[in-house]
Structure formats: C-alpha cells, structure tokens
Amino acid sequence: MLRIGLLSNILEVKNLSVVFNTPEGRISAIRDLSLSIGQGEVFAVVGESGCGKSVLCKTIMGILPSNTEITSGNIAVNGKEIVGLSDGEMCRVRGVDISMVFQDPMTSLDPTYSIGAQIAEAVRVHDKKITADALKKKVIDLMDAVGIDRAVERYSSFPWMLSGGMRQRCVMAMALAQEPKLLIADEPTTALDVTVQAEILDLLKEIRNKTGMTILFITHDLGVVAKVADKVAIMYAGKIIEQGLCEEIFARPTHPYTWGLLHALPSFAENGRLYPIPGAPPVLKEGFEGDAFAERNPYALRIDYAQEPPFFDLSPTHKAATWLLDERAPKIQFSLTNTAPPKTAHDIKQTEKLMEIHDLTHYFRLGQNSYVKAVSHVSFDIYKGEVFALVGESGSGKSTLARCILGMYKPLGGKAFYDGIDITSKRRTRKDKARISKEIQFISQDSGAALDMKMTVRDIIAEPLEIHRVYKNRKAADERIKEIMKKVGLDEQLMQRRPSELSGGQRQRVNIARAYVMNPMLLVADEPLSSLDVSIQAQIVEVLSELKKDHETAMLFIAHDLSMVEFISDRVGVMYKGHLVELAPTKELFRNPVHSYTKALLSAAPKPDPEVEKTRVSTRYKKSLTEFMHEGWEEVAEGHFVLKEH
C-alpha cells in the first residue's frame, strides 16, 4: 500500500532505536527517533558530542560498527525500506540513493590513491561498463561542479597535496557522483577554517538549489545551522527533543535544552557573562525512563524524573518534547538564572608591559636548503592583566608564536622579553629560567592528550608545585589544590580520580587548575576551547573570566572561534600566513575592521541568527604572499594598528 504523502518525503525514519553493546552493558545511542525530510530540504540535526547524531547517520548509511544493534524502527529512503537489507543490497543504495560527507577530509580520503582515482572509484562501482575516457571526463566534470579549479591537473594529485577545503570538495565530488536523492553531511565544516567553512556551506547550498538534492546536515554549531538549514531538529541523549522551521527554533526556543544551548553562545551574553548549561550529557543505559535532560534542567518538574515527555505541537511545523508545555504545568518564563554580579568593565592601564615581542621571526626546515616561514616579523606587547587574543586560520603561525614565547622554540630572529628577561636568549641564568617557567603557564588544545592518563588529578595539579618547591609539606599543597579545584568548578572528590574517568570539560578544568595553581603572571592558552562542545565551552570561558577577575594574570588567548574571542579578550591580533596584519582593542576591531583579511574573516563567521545569515554574503580573501611586503604599520585609531596594503 502506498501512501501519497510518503512519496514527497525522501527520508522517513520511524521509531528508530539503536543500542551499543559495551562491556558495561547495553547503552542507548538512539531512542525512539522519528523524523521525515521532504524533497529539497536542508534538515539540520543539532546536538552535543555523544548525543547520537553520528550514530543516526551511520544507521541510515548502514555502516554501523559491529557492536551496535538496531532494536526497533524503520528507515525509508525515497520510499524504499532499508532496515534489514543485506550488505550487498545496501551497497547498491549507498552512493546511489544516499551518500555521505564526513567530518575530517584529512582522514576520510585514502592517502595512497590520487583524488582522481578515488572519485573515479565512486563512479565505477555503480557503473562497471563505463569506458576509461568517459570515466575520466565524468570525474573532471564532477571536480568542476564542486569548484576544484585546474581539475585536469589536479586529477592525479594526492590528498595530502591539497588544502583542507579542496579535500572536502573532493569528498563532495564523490558524494555527488551518482546524483543521490539524499546527501548526509556529518559536520562537514568542523575541521575547516572559518573562511573555508563559508565557501563549503555556499557550495552545499548552491548544489541544493541546482539539483534539488535533499541534505541531512549534522552539526553542533548553531551559527552554521542559521546559515544553511530550512528545518532544525535538536537532539539530546539519542532523542529529538525539539523540531521546527529554522526561524521558529531561533525565535522561540521552547525546550529548556534548546534555550540553554542558544544562550550559552557569546552572542546572547548579557552583562559580560555567559550562561552555560550546568553538567554534562548523560550516558543512558537501555530502559531508561524519564526526561534525560532533567538532571541539568533548572525547570525540571517531578514528572520529568518518572516519565518521558511526549511531543507537544506549538505550530504545524514546530513541536517540542517537554512537560512544561502540558496544560497542568506551571507557566515558566525563561530567564537568565545566573545571578552573580556582572563583570566589571575592564580598565587596563596600558602602561605596564608584561611581555614585549619584537620582530619575532621563525622558520621551519623542510628539506635541504628549503625553509618555511611560520612567523614573520611579528611585534606586539602584552600588558599586565589583559587578555590578548590571537586569531587566524590553521597555518597562520599562531601556535608557533606561542611556542616561541614559551621558550619551546628558539626563534630565528627577533626578541621576546618577559618583564625584562630575554626569553629568546641562550644565556639565561638559572634563576631567570626558573622564574619564567613558574610565571608563564600553558594550556593546550587537546585537553585529553595534555594529561598523563596514569596520574591522579591531585598529582597532575600538584606537579608544578612540587617542581618549584612552593610548599614545604603535602598538607599545605593539598589545601592549595583544593582551593584551586573549587575555583575552576571541580569537586574535591575528584582528587584521586584519573583523567580517563573525567569528561572533556572536566579535563580542561584540570588543565586550567594545573596552570592557575602557580598564580602565573601570563597564561598562554592555545585554542583551549576548540575540542569542547558549545555548552562546555561556555562553562570553561566562565571559569577563565572568573579567574581573570580574581588574579592579576594576563592571558595570551589563541583561537579561531571569533565569537568567543569577542567575548573574552581585551585586545585582538589577527594573523595571516605568519604576519600580524591587524591589532586593535576588541570592540574597535569588531566594529571597524580595516585590513581586508580581517574583514573577510569577520564576514565568514556565521552568526546564530537566521535573519542575518540568510541574507549575508561573505567576502573572499585571496592574496598571494608576494603582495605581503612590509609596508609598515599604520595607526588608524588609538591603539588600532593595521599592516599597510597595496
């Protein structure tokens, strides 16, 4: 029996449940999930890591790992049921009816085949009789269609020869090879730079408009959602908890989680504070009852702990699963519950220099007699107690610069002074070295990799204290550790735990505690947020700004996420290909960017507001390096410097 209504739906998922078999028991990855996507829609599924959004993609593609099991539900693609198909049958669905783009184009391409061969494979596997000439022509057409220029030349390039954006275009060319009805994009831009992300998102939209392809878009970034999505579903703990048109979700978030997710973003910060959702997402055993979000929900009702809320319709297109919409529930006006006093405006007395960086240049050796310029003639100062942010894309030299400042690299040219001590000099006294390693602390990007998995939290935080013999006895050190743990929001009971037992947010807190326990004068934070989820990011930023208030610590904050930079920093330096191109107080930079690269960078960052995003056109910046001669600096406003352009 065919139902007419079904025909227009490309993807129809009904009551889908998936469990993981783990040594700890059966864990629900997806719980009773239903959704339907119509022809030509861009449907975004938003959620934090571990909410089951990637499992959903893999279930639809039929490429689940062997320890997972579909316990119930149906999935129909273009009217064809695919749950229960054999792998051989699924091979004729994958790539033809559905195809997929993955998160990291660095790892999703096979390094041993040329990109042309890999795209050709996607064509040939479903069309075995195609001739070699026709195949090559088709591949080059596909490469043209996804915006790979010089396609003929690049046919035989290998993945590692291309930039991240080009690689993601190759993956998209493969996905488009058989003109599938449904394209699943699993965080396709998360691993890319913000300007490249804008290009890829534009390309996706262009393909949709041209071919009428349906796109299931998975992401955690609400800015990206606002830019591309027609419909949005919010996912939490394996379940869709709110669903509606893009505009409806942003204008009237109804589930407390959706509301919390939106207000954890810096764009919604009020009085200089963020409003993070407390806690971390749960891991659900099979057979869980009640609302999974209740633990973190300040508005939780008693029924939330006992019974799963059903969907309540708000409009024909908008529905949410929360008991708050039941007519018996108390009417609640969402409000910002963070009652702590607003952050006092920062008065940086720009007189006392803590760190002076003068004409710093660093090269890396590539091979015989060839070097790359990682940092090129960069000069700036960091004042006492300020947050100085460095932004730029990958490869712009920000991490190299940070490492030079930490003394991990010896820069080739230029000087870096910390409070009068030349860090770059080889002839530092033992006393100076000890002082620098005590007063400059470092937080790295990957919170997990930075911690020794075999040490307890207490030992990790105590290690710098022991190295510098700050406390005479263990008891005094423990007092200090407890104090700092409380400050960063870690429970005292975690002292004897090991990092493997902690969540990502907790690990980053341990890193921060380890850095702050020394009361540093300067904290170098190299992308401390980029490996964390939105709600956790907000928590960490809150911790950092709390600490900033209490301590005299200056911070060098390295980031590619501009929204957080706007929120936390006092001054911003923009780096491009090793050059510092613009330097200004944060407000001034965001209000009046002068350098054309800064303009491109700001215009590329998506804002979580569909009204703004749907109409905005991002500007591109492509400049060859030869145009980057040192023309000198220009002060356009007080404290606002720009590298002169041609």
Partner: protein, 347 residues
C-alpha cells in the same frame, strides 16, 4: 634528458654509492672483529698437527694463509684479491671459498626464499581473515593457535616431523637436499624441501600474522574506510583495495628487516635435517676461525639485506607517495632558501 629523469638518475647513483659504502664498512668491521676474537685459525687448517709445529713452521703457515703482518695490511691484501674475484681458500675445507659456497648457497636460497614468500603470503591471508571478522570465534581461535604454535621450539618440531613422516610413514626423506646423485632432479629437491619448509614457515608465520592483523585493524578504523563504504563499495573490496594497500608499506618494511632470515635464519633447520646450506656454514666459519669463509658469507648477507631494503623502500614510495615528498606545508607557507632565511633574520 628532462629534469625528471635526471633526478631519477641522481637518486639511483646515490643509492648505489650508499650500497658500496655500506658493504665496504661491513667487510672492514667483520674483518677486524673476527681477527680480534681469541683462538687459533691454524687449528682449523692443520688440525691436531698445530700442537707439534715449531715456531718457524708456524710462521711459515701464517704466511701461507695470508695471516702475517698488521691486520690493516691483511685487510687491503684481502680486498685487492676480492675485487679481482679471488676470495681465498676455506681453512676448514681447504678449497676455494666460492667452490664450497656455490652449491650450498642455492640450497639455502631455495629454502629461505620459498619459506620467506610462503610465510608472508600466508601471514597476510591470515591477517585479512582475522581482521575481516574481528573478535569472531574464528579470529580468536586462530590467534590462540598461533600463540601456542609459536612457542614450539624448531628443533623439537623438526624431530617430530621426521619421526612421523620419515621414520613411521616413509613418506618423505629425513635429510639432505636431494637424493644422492640426483642433484638436478626437481622432484627430488621438492621432496627434500617440504619438511624443512614446514618448520621454517611455522616458526615465523604467527608472529608476522599477528603483527599484520593488528596493523590492519588500525587501518579498518580509519575514516577513509567509512567513506569508501559510503561510496557503495563492498566490505571485501574495501579490505583489499584500500586497507591492504595502506598496510603494504608497513608489511614491506617488516619484510625488508627480516630479509636476513632467508640466509641465516635457517640454521637449526639445516642442522636437524642435515640440509647442506650456508646457515651451518656461517656458524662453523665463525667457530673455527675460517676467516675467508666468514668474510664472504657476511658480505653476501649484507648485500642481500641492503638491496632488500632498497627494493622495499622503492615499492613503499610507489604506494604511499607521502614518503617521498615531505613538502606538506608548501601550500600553506612561504618557502625560502637558507640564504634568504639568514638575510631575513639579520634584517
């Protein structure tokens, strides 16, 4: 000649020079080391007679065998002779070294070479079979059997095989490389190879299979496997076309390192099966101070290992071109020469 061919030729010449230098150093070190070892080389040539020799006779004997004078002088004398094709005589066999080795080298190459190919071929098949269904019953059983068999000593396994196949069932010969007087009979040679081959393969197979299996499991978890599956390629084709191809550089590296097993690793097997190969010969030459023999065997082994490594590297580079080019960062940043860099720094 275009630039590309020129670069190829240059790298070929470089490789040849490296081989020559390595072989030279190897022969130099072996020459000195063997002469520094305690013991009397005359004993292996003259046997018990040495004890009754006068000093003058001894001096004469040293001179005859080229063992007089400073070691460095001896070395260059040996080198000069060796370059013109004369490797001296074996003290123990009292014949030209090459005559002694010639017959046996072929035997060992047959045993070691076939063993090597079978070992790695089977190891790859087992690895794929196990990795294809990780943690399945078959996978677990194969891994367990592997662990157990790799604990069985070679000499014991050899003896058991001889006991059953030769002594009890009279199916296969127990010793030698061929039946007496039938050196050119291929059937006879194969018959004699079977038991030693089983021992050689069994003693190395599991170790390599397990290593390859684990490496293959790492490959299977890579994201490119998911993308290949998403294209609609079947599980088996993804395994052979993508995973195994990515495994190759690792496998070839392991093969290149274990190249010397071909020549020297069959010692125990040769002993038990009385198989006339160079494994026993090299052991004896070191034990009895048969210097000339030792030098030739070491140099041959060295050349085989070095050439094996070069071939391995070339194949790996062909498969994974990243190894050749390390200019990943070229796209991202500015490339300059050393001089430009120094100029820039001193600005």
């Amino acid at each position: 000649m275009n630039l590309r061919n020129k670069i190829k030729l240059e790298s070929l010449i470089n490789k040849i020079i490296i081989v020559l230098i390595s072989v030279f150093l190897l022969s130099l070190i072996t020459f000195f080391m063997s002469r520094l070892a305690p013991g009397d080389p005359l004993a292996s040539y003259y046997g018990d007679r040495v004890e009754r020799m006068s000093t003058a006779e001894r001096m004469h004997a040293y001179e005859r065998l080229g063992l007089d004078g400073p070691i460095i002088g001896q070395y260059f004398k040996w080198l000069k002779a060796a370059l013109s094709g004369d490797f001296g005589i074996s003290f123990k066999y009292k014949q030209n070294v090459m005559t002694v080795i010639a017959g046996r080298l072929l035997n060992t190459l047959l045993l070691g070479g076939i063993g090597f190919v079978i070992t790695f071929g089977l190891a790859l098949l087992l690895a794929v079979a196990c990795a294809y269904r990780e943690n399945s019953l078959a996978d677990r059983i194969i891994c367990r059997i592997g662990t157990i068999t790799s604990c069985i000593p070679e000499f014991w396994l050899s003896l058991v095989l001889i006991l059953f196949f030769a002594v009890m069932w009279h199916l296969l010969p127990s010793s030698g490389a061929y039946a007496i007087g039938r050196a050119n009979d291929i059937g006879s040679r194969i018959e004699h190879l079977i038991l030693p081959l089983i021992v050689v393969v069994m003693s190395h197979l599991w170790y390599y299979a397990y290593m390859l299996r684990n490496k293959l499991l790492e490959e299977i978890r890579q994201e490119y496997v998911l993308l290949a599956r998403a294209k609609g390629i079947s599980k088996r084709n993804v395994m052979w076309k993508h995973c195994v191809r990515n495994l190759m550089p690792t496998m070839i590296a392991i093969m290149a390192i274990s190249m010397n097993h071909i020549l020297e690793g069959t010692y125990i097997v040769e002993m038990v099966f009385s198989y006339p190969g160079i494994g026993t010969l090299s052991f004896e030459s070191a034990k009895y101070h048969d210097y000339n023999m030792l030098m030739v065997l070491t140099v041959i082994t060295g050349i085989v290992v070095i050439i094996g490594n070069i071939i391995g590297q070339t194949i790996s580079e062909k498969i994974d071109q990243r190894m050749k080019a390390q200019d990943k960062m070229k796209d991202l940043m500015e490339i300059v020469s050393h001089r430009e860099m120094m100029d820039d720094a001193s600005k």
